[in-house]
Amino acid sequence: MNLLLTIILDGLIQASWLFIVALGLTLVFGVLKILNIAHGGFYALGAYLAATAVTIAAAHQVPPGVGFVLMLLAVAAIAATVGLLMERGLIKLFYGRDEVVLLLVTYAVFLVLEDVTKLIWGVNPIYANQPYELFGNVEFAGLFYVGYDLMLIPLSAAIGLGVWFVLNRTTTGKIVSAVIHNAEMSASMGVKINQVYALAFAFGVMLAALAGGLTAPKISVQPGLSSEIIILSFAIVVIGGLGSVEGAAVGAILVGMARAASVHLLPQAELFVIYLIMAAVLMFKPEGLFRRETARRI
């Protein structure tokens, strides 16, 4: 029973930050129809920025709680700006070209970001663990959990619900939904597509960076983060359905649980189970669990 609980909680904790990353990726795909490989680069950027912010905050003796919030704000702001610049300055040039071309453009940006982070922050691991102690430890069914980790669950749920609410209940959100469904039609009805694209992209990569910032206190921040996270978030988004918010949530939970379960039960399976599920979904329900799209020939 304890084991089950551990797995469930571990799974949910993983799912929480995975969801935030995947949400950003799926939104960018939904609106711009781009599978953004550079998304992983923004996650890493967020982690590195967070590490630096934490160090600066500690140097200026800012109280840890305040420092934490400031760090997240800084990460979000910087990432959104970079994202905006990237979309307006680069991606825009390739609109209308084949989807594979855009994929390659984002791959190029991914490569560039990899080295940029290495040049700015070096290749050695960086640690920024102070915020990790913010929420103390919690005892739950005889086991100790770090409060920070548990905090991620309601936080990501809130973000998810917030995005869902905006998309479905606000005017801006409905405009964005319209663009998701049919960009051409929306444009002909007067929607400023360029603005929607820019907004969606900036928001999407901001989420990736935010997730990076939130996980930075838990990990060692080093090169290689981005290539790992991108492939994982691809799996989630494919499983849930490209462009679907609910799908990202379900996919994240599935992948989080799969990871937690295999770590505790069958460590050998950990990595490939996730990609096996991804492959299986692609074969039997390529649209993912929540979306309609044609993927096959007749």
């Binding site: 071309v101 990899e114 080295d115 040049l119 290539s227 490939f272």
Partner: protein, 329 residues
């Protein structure tokens, strides 16, 4: 037959390339060897891309070839380089034969994602398989050639260079012939309009499967070549960034010219070496910028610089009345 595509001329070029290896300095030799083996995988991607499907998971066959050969080499002491390349090709081909029909139905990014997922499944499995060394992999011994052992490093390097160039060169000659063949033409047709191909009575999926298998064979053979060069195999062979590297070369080259694939592979290895030497931690930056430039300015790849438009527009002859005037709409 045109000089540039006459198989005998091309084979002659391969022989020349091998002989050339005798006079170039050691660092160029190893660079060219690496470039040749990467070009081989990229060539397979180009062959497949001519059906409209881009594989982001050739690492699957690359690793299958490498591990297959490594296991056989260690288990049965098979060290002959040519045999190893052939075994690698067979390993890749068998896997491609099995997987091809399963995924030929998919198009666009779904096809890409599926190939990616499958390669990552292998990666995940390899990393956790302790008998294969897990994420560390394992080593293999030096390759031999037709019984001859190469103790002198310079000779060993040249042998490897020669085998790589010949393997890749032969694949290149085959691809050149394939591109101009009826099968090659129908493959292009699948890319252009797979629905019409079906309506004409041919299975588009079968065409894709066959091209897929060819790409798998090339990638498997290249896995063997890389194994021989590094004398080491590990799961990285199947990682998605390895696959991405090969796609990079294919994109740079474009899908019209076999020669462009070699040029692209060589160019990228040169860029990588030089930036590693003078500006460490920048080769990905340079490659990324390079890729962007190519996509922007040479959308059809390097090959478009000399392959040009598919056909020159010739002077339209006097048209029969109906077709001529009817065409005015």
């Amino acid at each position: 037959m045109k000089l540039s595509t006459n198989p005998f001329v091309l084979l002659g070029l391969v022989v020349l390339a091998v002989l050339f290896g005798r006079v170039i300095p050691a660092w160029t030799l190893s660079l060219a060897t690496v470039a040749a083996s990467k070009a081989l995988v990229a060539l397979g991607i180009v062959v497949l891309a001519r059906t409209g499907n881009v594989s982001f998971g050739q690492g699957l066959f690359f690793a299958a070839g490498g591990y297959g050969v490594a296991l056989i080499a260690n288990e049965w002491g098979l060290t002959d380089a040519v045999a190893q390349v052939l075994i690698g090709a067979v390993c890749g081909g068998l896997l491609g034969l099995v997987i091809g029909p399963l995924i030929a139905r998919y198009t666009g990014i779904f096809f890409g994602m599926l190939t990616l997922a499958l390669s990552m499944v292998l990666y995940g499995a390899l990393v956790k398989t302790t008998v294969l060394g897990g994420s560390d992999g394992f080593n293999v011994g030096r390759p031999t050639l037709f019984g001859a052992v190469f103790n002198d490093p310079r000779e060993a390097d040249f042998m490897l260079y020669a085998v790589s160039v010949v393997a890749t060169g032969l694949a290149g000659v085959f691809a050149t012939i394939l591109f101009k063949s009826q099968f090659g033409l129908t493959s292009l047709a699948v890319r252009e309009n797979n629905l019409r191909v079906e309506y004409l009575g041919t299975s588009a999926n079968r065409i894709v499967s066959i091209n897929f298998m060819i790409a798998a064979v090339f990638a498997g053979a290249s896995g063997a070549l890389s194994l021989m060069a590094q004398r080491h195999i590990d799961p990285e062979f199947a990682y998605w960034t390895t696959s991405g590297d090969f796609v990079f070369i294919a994109v740079l080259a474009g899908s019209q010219s076999v020669a462009a694939v070699f040029v692209a592979a060589l160019a990228l290895e040169l860029v990588r070496s030089f930036s590693n030497l003078y500006l460490p931690n920048t080769w990905q930056l340079v490659l990324g910028l390079f890729l962007l430039a190519v996509i922007l300015f040479l959308p059809r790849g390097i090959g478009s610089l000399w392959a040009g438009r598919r056909r020159k527009v010739s002077e339209p002859p006097a048209e029969p009345a109906a077709a001529g005037k009817g065409a005015a709409s």
